[in-house]
Amino acid sequence: MTSFGSFLRQLVRDVWSQKLRTFLTVFGIIWGTVAVALLLAVGEGVHRRQTKSFAGLGDRIVIAWPSRTSLPFEGLGKGRRIRVDETDIEFLKKRVGGLAEISSEYAQNLRATFGDRARLVDVSGVSPIFGEMRNMVPAEGGRFINPTDMDQRRRVVFVGNELAEDLFGEIDPVGEKVMLQGSPFLVIGVLQAKEQDSSYSGRDHSKMIIPSSTFQALTGQRYVDLFIYKAATPDRNKALTERVLAALGERKRFDPGDTQALGIWDTTDMFVWFDTFMLAFKLFMGFMGILTLTVGGIGVSNIMNVVVEERTREIGIKMALGAKSRTVLSQFLLETFIFTAIGGIIGLTLTWGFCAAVAGTPAEDAIGTPVLSPQIALLTAGVLGLVGFLAGYFPARQASRLDPVVAMKL
């Protein structure tokens, strides 16, 4: 359009002559944008951090602990103890389809000593796969239990990070010997610090992990305290659990519908619940943000209304000279659009800057790292566009409906 250049020059001139008005208009939009984007970004940050700390317990695993039956089954009374040993775990591995990973876990409170320091420690005996399933990542220079440790019943131990600090102090624990129940164990790795906000037998940072074969040899414990398993994908966990219950029920002779015989904690439920909760949380945040942005939009609309009034004579003159309603309408709309776009870009940049600034500060521990994802930016831009359009449309329509004769006389 040939008039676009002239329009822009006029706009710039107009904006320049009304610095305060322009500043206030753009400021309203910036404020609104920052409010929406920041609320959503913080929500996203909290979500990610929380998901990460949930994952501290495990990567969408199912935790099962053998207990007592609560229903009579095939002539057997209720209250019977269900015991699971390594052969049962092997049986499940072979017989249950869709079982991607499984590890038994034996747990006891044992006395650990290093030099003159002694502590009572939760010790777990597990399979090598356990580390991966439970997100236990070794810190640099260490490793988790491997299949050879398992086969040879090596006396090796993986230590939780806080326990390591408590027991070894300044010394690097890897390669040190620690006494467990009077037997020397070689420290092969220390847990890399992680977020964990739920657990079933103490936090991982204060535990010691040894091979289950070694554990059995050391303590003589035959039956597992619990076992953890997972399907290839989290959505198959539920069906898998039904098959585990059916297979184990048949072998151990308990009703597969007996909710007590085998305690089940499917951690994916927690993720599902949390995702739903976070969605509601983000909707709420977004809603608050949109309200804020709307207030900003009303401000812009007000200012545009004032602009229309101030420029009524100008509009009248233009119409007298042959400007069509459409021209006047689009001029005001475009003006609002430009204000909104500039405000939006500045607002998103500020938000992005804030997100970058929070990263690496203590605030990160409390609220996680706010993330301005492309979706959030896009959503904000969309809402902004809508608010901008509405804010511009009504004043513009009012302007375009002015009667030239009346408008010019003002």
């Binding site: 040939t2 008039s3 002239s6 001139r13 007298a320 000279l321 042959g322 400007a323």
Partner: protein
């Protein structure tokens, strides 16, 4: 190129050569409680090349008539043909288009846009007419030259005298080569010197064959016109042609 061909009917193509043809025009302002009858049946025919002065006391309806002639307002009754085109029943945008192509306005208070330069003010109607930028510039300069302001193109209205502003307004009125130039008290806000400049300019335009309708209180200006129409209480009371 995108500059629409105009002047399909600049009098020559019209069967009877009338630019303005008004018959029984009435205008009633309805303020809700009372109705004010500003024009009570005006018959007015203006031919191409005429210079018509419309005179009359304040409130006689002459400005209303000029607004109707310029399609700034629509009559309540009667028929109006402008350059052979029926104006009744046109919508706002079509009227805007008619104003743009056929009518050039000169106002008492100039009505220039203060934030624009003289050149940009003159460009404005051509901008609305969809003319390209180069063509607009060229013509605007040409028109400003003709009114004697070739050295003031980059000046803002506030940097010009009253007479200069009115000359910019006249250049603007001529920008689209309209069928008719309408002026509402063009000398009303000017001192005698500037006023007579503007009058001379009007007369010059007439001499170039343009059609002018001027509403004025100014007897000197009216005396320069070829025809004086007097309006009183919304009707034409006298319509006299000067003997050349």
């Amino acid at each position: 190129m995108n500059w629409p061909l105009k002047k399909k009917n600049n009098g020559d193509g019209n069967s009877n050569g009338h630019i303005i043809e008004m018959l029984g025009i009435t205008k009633v302002y309805d303020t809700g409680k009372i109705q004010v009858e500003a024009l009570k049946g005006i018959d007015l025919v203006v031919d191409k090349g005429e210079f018509v002065a419309v005179v009359g006391p304040s409130g006689s309806g002459k400005s209303t008539l000029l607004n109707l002639v310029g399609c700034l307002d629509t009559p309540s009754g009667g028929t109006y043909m402008l350059g052979g085109e029926a104006v009744a029943g046109l919508d706002r945008d079509q009227l805007a288009d008619v104003r743009n192509r056929r009518v050039g306005f000169v106002f008492q208070n100039f009505n220039l846009l203060p934030q624009l330069t003289a050149l940009e003010n003159v460009e404005m109607p051509m901008l609305f007419g969809g003319m390209g930028r180069r063509e607009r510039r060229r013509r605007a300069k040409e028109h400003l030259d003709r009114v004697g302001l070739g050295d003031r193109v980059e000046h803002r209205p506030t940097e010009l005298s009253g007479g200069q502003m009115q000359r910019v307004a006249i250049a603007r009125a001529l920008a689209m080569e309209p069928d008719i130039v309408l002026a509402d008290e063009p000398t009303g806000n000017l001192d005698t010197g500037s006023g007579s400049d503007v009058m001379s300019l009007m007369t010059e335009l007439w001499g170039q064959g343009r059609t002018l309708v001027v509403v004025t209180h100014d007897k000197t200006l009216a005396s320069r016109a070829g025809r004086v129409v007097e309006i009183r209480d919304g009707v034409v009371v006298t319509d006299e042609r000067a003997v050349a």
